[in-house]
Structure formats: C-alpha cells, structure tokens
Amino acid sequence: MNRQSFPMLALACVAAVLTAGSATAQELPYGLKADKPYEGTTLNILSVVTPQFDGLKLRDGEFTELTGIETEWTFIPFGSLQDKLVTEGIAATGEFDLVNYLDSWGPTNAYWLRSIDDLLEEDGISMDRYPPAFAKSAQFEGETKGFPLRAHAQLMFYRKDLIDTPPTSWEEVIEIGKALKESNPEIAPLALYYNNDGNRQNLFVWLNFLWAAGADVFNDDGTPAWTSDAAIKATEDYVALHTVEKITNEASLSFIEADARQSFVQGNSAMTPQWWWAYSSMINPEQSTLTEEQVGFAGMPAYQGETASYAISMPFSISTYSKQQEAAWEFLKWLSNPELEKKNATEREVAGETIINNVVTHLENLQDAEVNAANANIQIAAFASLENSDIMPQIAEWPEIGDLLSGAIAEAAAGGDVRELMTAAGDQATKLLKRSGRI
C-alpha cells in the first residue's frame, strides 16, 4: 500500500463503520429488533378460524420481510380449539410457539403460557392500551399472559324498520316486546339463548343482570355469591323474560347464541343481544335476509338503572414449551400493533381476498374516526358498552362451576324453580371449590 492510497482507505473504513453504525441503530417499526437476529426461524401458530386472523395472516409477509422470521398458521374451528389446546398442554412438545384461546380457558392452561410482563416492560408496551376488561382477560393471578387480539363487546341488535328507538333498559325491552307482539305477531320480539349447550353462553346476558344488580359470581373469599337475594332476583328477572313476560322467541330455550343470531338474520326475531362481530354477517346478503337499513345496534339495556356488560376475548400467548420464545415475542409485537389492527378493520381486501372484519381491541382504534366510518360506528358503540364491563371469573375451576350455573339457568328457563336450582348449583360448586383447595 502506498502513502497516497492510505488516506483513501482510512476514509473508506470510517465510512463503512459509520454506515454499519447507522444500520445497527436503524429503528424498526413496532419495536422489532434490528439486524434480524432470528432470521431463518419458523414460528408455528395455533389460531381459531376467523376472518380477522385471516386478514392478519395475509399481511404477515411484512413481518417476515422485517425480521426474516417465517410463520406457519394452523387454523382450528372454535369447537375443536379447546381440545387442541389441552392436548398441546399435555403433550408439551412445543409444536406451537404461539397459541390462541378463549379467555376462560386461560387459567387451566396458564402454567404453560409464558408470562410476558418482563417483555412488556422491556419494550415499553402497556396493557393500558386495551379496555380494562380486555386487558384483564389476558391476565391470570397478577401475570400478563398475552394480548387480547380478538375481543368482543356485547350489543343489542334490533330491527330498525320495526323499532323506532332502541331500548335502553330491560323494562323498555319488555315494553317494546309486548307492543311488537300486538303489531307484528308473526315475529318474535326477542331472541335469547337459554340453552346450556356451548361454552356457557346462557350466562352471557345473565351476567348483565347479575352485575347490574350489584351482585357477583363469587364472594371475595371465593365462595359462590349467586345465591344472594340480589343475585336470585336478577336471575329470576332474566328468566322471566321467557317464562313470565313471554317476549322471547319460543325456541330460546333450545337456542345457543348462534341460533338466536340465525333467528334474527332470518327475520324471525326483532331483537337479540350478540357480540359486536356479528354485525358484518347480519348485513351480508349471503348470510342474512336483512339489509343495512334494517339492522340497528345499541348498548346493552340497563337493569335496575345500571348497565353492566360482559366482555370476552381470545388472547394470543407464547407457549413455554416453545424453543423460539424470543422470536415468538417479536411476532406478538408485530401482530398486536394498533396500526396493523386498524388496517385489518378498514381495508376490505388483502392480497386479492375479501376480508370483512370489524374487531379492534385497542382503545385508540375503538375511538378512531376512520375505523368507525368503515364499520357503521360499531366500535364507538362497543367502546361505550365496555365502559362498565367485566369478564367471567379467571379461576381454573370455572369451566366446571360455570357449567353448573349454566345447567341451572337452562332448567330454570324451562320452568324450574330459580332459587332451588341456583342454591343446588351453589352447594355443589362449594364442594368442588373445597375439593380443589380454592376455598
């Protein structure tokens, strides 16, 4: 090397170092790590079948481009998801790096779902970005287990062409219902679901009554609280919609949530409380006989002057059996980012496929004008519904306890004695809780 070329080489070296430095410092969006440290990794994701996650999957090319991490999605229908999850927990093979589940299944599987509080802190992500009920649904015994990527608020759907002003209280529901029976006898005023078949769905509306009455499912000491006078009264009033007021569709006894929705979209019932995601199917001509002009929605009616609603979520968590937990966290950061969520709720076509999804879970998106404009303002209605909402109890024994309750309510709606049935369910639940060491 001669003396003339040395300064040039030094300059080139400095430039190279500076370039490398700037590359290292390059900020990737969504808090993703730079330099693709997990490039070549393939993540296996277990997810429920839903257009919402179809939309995310179709967009995950961006994630692969940013991180070099490939993804492999396995979609399972909701009806089989719990079995798959339990099997994954028992097998402990780490087949799936990330799993999607219903919040009430979380406690049973919490021991193999990674706590992400340290990761949240490291990346400056706060669960405050979600409504409190949604955030709570992804937490168990003080630990955050994942993100509530799919979560729902309850709304009262009604026929705009039959009902001028939506009911704001259950008293008004009864009033409107009775008037409808007179004016439109061929249509049932209200489609409810009292059947205990299907993930305790007959508790969804019952919880509205219970919480609004100031009662609860469990006392602070963990014993059943649904046998209190206030709770029994609330349960009686919930059941009375069918047995006394007779404003429900006669088939409500055998309906699960989907049946009630079906009755509504077939034009056989004029009102039905449903999850907000149902709206898109209610106005979809391929799935419904109703048009956008006919379908209205409002917040859940008040009971005893108070509105309380039930919220549900399907969080995504990292499996502790996964050997790629760091890469899985990168994916969760990307998957849960509010920008992606907004796109997924506003863009109706991804990679040539039609995706109709109105589910958003971030507070900012629930109140976002663009998101609301694209979805008939359903997010704002959901936001209001979530103001005073809660989730089902997060204890491992809940599926069994909840089924006891669900069975009691189904029998009560079929004409059984509410107090007797709820007390019997309470006694059996106490025995179960004692046996498990919960109380």
Partner: protein, 290 residues
C-alpha cells in the same frame, strides 16, 4: 424357522400395537385414577389419593349418578328398540321375504352415515324454528309444533334415542338377515306342514335357532350404547341441563373441559366394569363353539 416360532413372530406386531394402544393406556388410566390429576397444574399428576376419585364419584357428585342413570336407560331403550326394529326388517328382507331388493338398498343409507353427522342432521331437523320434523309433524298433528324438542329434558332424550335407533337399525338388520339365512328352511317348512301358524313358526322355530345371533346383536348394541359419545356430543351436548349426559360424555367433559384427568380416568374405569362383563358374554357367544 420352526412353525411355532414363525407363528409367534407373525402375531407379535399386532400384539405390540394392541398393547401400546389399548393395554398400556388402560393400566396407565388406572394408575392416574388414583392420583389428583389436574391438568391445570404443572406437577401433573399430583398427589396419590388412593380411592378418593371413586368415593367422590359415588358419594359427592350427583352428575355422576345422573349420567349412570341416563346411560342405563338409554342403553336398555336403544337396545330393545333397535333389536326389535332390526328383527322386523330382517324378517321382511330375509331371502324370500317381500320388498327385499328395494328396501335393502334404502336401509343401507343410515349405516353409511357417521354418528356425528346423524347428530348434526337431527339437531337441524328438530330445530323448533326451521326444523323439518317440526314442520312435518305440525302438519300431521296440530299442536305438536309447540314442543321444543331439544329444550325439553324428556323429549330431547327421545330425540337422542330416535337418532341412535335410526342409525343402528341397518347394521343389525344385515346381521340378522345373515342369521336368518343360516336357519335351515326345512325346520320352518316342517312346522308349517304340521299346521303351525306363522307366529308359532317364528316363536318356536325361528327365534330359538336365531338366538345365538340375536344374543350377539344385543350384546354388541349394548356395548355401543354404553359408550355412546359422538351422537350425544353433536345432538344435545348432554343438555338441556344434563338430561342427556351419558357416561362417556361426562368423562370427556371432566377430562378435556374441566382438566380433571384423574377423576375422568376413575369414571372411565367405572365404565370398564359393565363393558368387561358384556365383552365376556360377547366373546363367549362368538368364539365358544362347544
């Protein structure tokens, strides 16, 4: 290689498969039934509890006895009805019987359907709002449309029975047709020549000779009824309340929905007892040639 050695070598793979997929799980579940096996905790299975799971089932859990009752009644009713209908159809379709060709091909259809599919179909057909049965029956018997079939504890049980009987008749009919074909016609003809009526021929000549096949049919159906799961799962899911919850469904719920594998194993073992008794008799009728 000696014949004796070769014989054992040829049988060995099948024995190994059965041992791995049936015998080992059977004993493992027996072991689990003596532990507090909660899947919701990482230290699975937890402490040894001896016979606690069994005493819980017997003395503390009304749902267990409810499922025993449902399973028992369901088994008796479905066995009786299925066998009776299958026998009637077999007599109609036996060689020489009337309507044979047309009905036989129709009968095979339900047998080709899986119980899960039958469950879903019946669920739709008994839907109170848009179900086929409701619409048809209302046309025939006014007022029957008010029955909410799947929401009523009694009616839902009978819908379940109807679905099961409908699905099983063809198979049992085919078995009984085979049995009827094996009965020497001379015995029936001799009785007829002696002036016996059709009923007497059937009662005193046909049935006694058909008895071994009939016994196999009854035992086989009883085994399948005892372990009925898929039909219940798809049609009523044990409801309303737990009015149609069979033991298999109860075991499944405790194992997979409530994560109580220890308890589910114990109840599964309680199911094994009647199964073993029935299997013993089945084996005696099928294999005992003395």
């Amino acid at each position: 290689m000696r014949d004796r050695t070769l014989k054992y070598l040829l049988v060995a793979p099948a024995v190994l498969v059965v041992a791995a997929t049936a015998v080992w799980p059977l004993f493992e579940s027996l072991r689990l039934s003596t532990y507090a096996g909660r899947l919701s905790r990482p230290d699975f299975p937890q402490a040894f509890v001896g016979a606690d799971q069994y005493t819980w089932a017997f003395f503390e859990e009304p749902a267990f006895w409810n499922s025993v009752w449902v399973t028992g009644v369901y088994t008796v009713v479905t066995v009786v009805l299925t066998t009776a209908f299958a026998l009637a159809f077999a007599l109609l379709l036996a060689p020489g019987g009337r309507f044979r060709s047309g009905v036989q091909s129709l009968l095979i259809l339900p047998f080709a359907m899986s119980p899960a599919l039958i469950g879903v179909s019946f669920r739709f057909m008994f839907n109170p709002e848009f179900g086929l049965f409701d619409a048809v029956l209302t046309g025939i018997i006014p007022g029957i449309g008010d029955i909410n079939w799947l929401a009523d504890p009694v009616w839902s049980f009978w819908v379940l029975v109807a679905a099961d009987v409908w699905g099983w008749i063809p198979f049992l009919t085919l078995v009984l047709i085979g049995g009827l074909a094996s009965i020497p016609r001379e015995t029936q003809e001799a009785a007829q020549v002696d002036g016996a009526s059709g009923w007497r021929v059937f009662k005193d000549v046909t049935v006694p000779q058909l008895l071994p096949v009939l016994a196999v049919v009854i035992i086989l159906k009883a085994i399948f009824s005892l372990k009925t799961f898929d039909l219940v799962f798809m049609l009523t899911n044990g409801g309303p309340g737990n009015a149609t919850q069979t033991l298999s469904h109860y075991v499944y719920f405790n194992g997979f929905k409530y994560a109580e594998f220890g308890y589910a194993s114990a109840v599964a073992w309680l199911m094994v007892i009647p199964m073993l008794v029935l299997t013993y008799f089945y084996a005696r009728f099928v294999f005992d040639r003395r």
